[in-house]
């Protein structure tokens, strides 16, 4: 066992040093979250740089040929005002 009397006494911080340390720690705790806000990416500002928006348009051209008797009729997109009762699609 080590003799306690042989160990040199640990230097104790005085109250001034402790106060300075507390101020430094408090300042860091306050400023770090603010810094993370400062360096995070900003949302685009209205009236600032605009990004291109690509809208894909589907252009259809109707080509008709003679119809078969008894067959249904066909209206191009947007031509018929009646609400469809049902629909057909690729299955």
């Amino acid at each position: 066992m080590t003799d306690p009397a042989a160990r040199p006494p640990r230097p104790r911080a005085n109250s001034r040093e402790i106060r300075v340390l507390a101020w430094v720690a408090g300042s860091l705790a306050f400023s770090v979250p603010l810094a993370s806000f400062a360096i995070s990416p900003k949302p685009a500002e209205a009236g600032g740089e605009t990004r291109p928006v690509v809208v894909r348009r589907v252009v259809r051209v109707i080509v008709r040929s003679p119809s078969e008797e008894g067959a249904p009729t066909f209206s191009p997109p947007g031509a018929s005002s009646r609400t469809p009762a049902t629909s057909t699609r690729g299955s």
Binding site: F74, T88, S91
Partner: protein, 294 residues
């Protein structure tokens, strides 16, 4: 015209019955549902216990089949001959090779690639059908998916009218049939193959059936979809994105739509319908609905 509607899911797709507000509607709806559930149990390739799975498992041997199965298979073989093989009930191996080896909802979740290189199909003429006995060539499997659905739609629409409805429209995932006498034409939207919320036009249907085949639906990857070109065994890649065909019955319309998708614009010389082409054009030989209404 006041409509009633009953919807449910069967055969891997949405099914609906449309009909007039009538006392027989609820009973007819129950019958329609039972027909779909029964046919799904018989013709599904995703059910190990289905009659189709049993027949496929016995390829190479003579198998006994139900009268209903024999009737549909006879229709499918005749349709394959009539379309010079563009419709082919023996595409099972090719569909699986393209990656469609499980229920479509599971397929989408797994985002699969093709499993094997394609091989041409076209062995429908080697199927032996004698009464209620069938023998598939060894190594050949049946996929009756689309035509079985059309067949079922026809039976269901007829049964709804037999149950007392003056008329009925049954629609299974876009394959639809009117039975009975409708008091006025039913407006049916044709969905655009390049946008589910867009329309490629509308048909005013007063009788018969419509079926649509598209290379952009039931697709799970670049160039991977369920419509196999039997000549190559690979998913079809022609000029037609979508074919909607009118015919007296839904089973006929289903076969004709596949034929039109592979045959291209000249199919309109034989059938009435609407083709949406890859270059943006819509070709149709149906009369103009606006002129007819004027």
């Amino acid at each position: 015209m006041e409509l009633r509607r009953s919807a449910f899911r069967s055969m891997g797709t949405d099914v609906e019955l449309l009909g007039p507000a009538h006392a027989a509607f609820a009973g007819a709806a129950a019958i329609v549902r039972e027909i779909f559930e029964s046919d799904d149990r018989r013709y599904s390739r995703f059910r190990a216990e289905s009659e189709l799975s049993r027949v496929n498992a016995g390829a190479g041997d003579w198998m006994s089949v139900s009268p209903q199965f024999a009737e549909l298979l006879a229709f499918a073989i005749e349709a394959a001959r009539g379309t010079e093989g563009r419709f082919d009930p023996t595409v099972l191996d090719a569909v699986i090779a393209a990656g469609y080896d499980r229920d479509f909802d599971e397929l989408l979740a797994g985002a699969r690639a093709a499993l094997r290189p394609p091989r041409p199909c076209g062995r429908f003429d080697e199927i032996k059908l004698e009464g209620h006995r069938v023998r598939l060539p060894a190594g050949v499997g049946l996929d009756l998916g689309g035509v079985a659905k059309g067949w079922c739609v026809d039976r269901a629409a007829g049964a709804a009218v037999d149950a007392g409805l003056p008329w009925a429209l049954v629609n299974a995932g876009g394959d639809l049939r009117i039975a009975g006498e409708v008091p006025q034409a039913i407006p049916v939207a044709i969905e655009d193959p390049e946008g589910a919320t867009l329309e490629a036009g509308r048909v005013q249907l007063h009788a018969g059936a419509l079926a649509t085949s598209s290379t952009t639906r039931r697709a799970w990857g670049d160039g991977l979809h369920h419509l196999i070109d039997p000549a190559t065994g690979a998913p079809a890649s022609g000029d037609v994105l979508q074919a909607t065909v009118w015919a007296p019955t839904c089973a006929e319309a289903e076969v004709a739509a596949k034929d039109a998708l592979l045959r291209g614009p000249c199919s309109l010389e034989r059938r009435s319908g609407v083709l949406v082409l890859r270059d943006g054009r819509i070709l149709t030989n149906l009369a103009d609905g606006d002129e007819a209404a004027a």
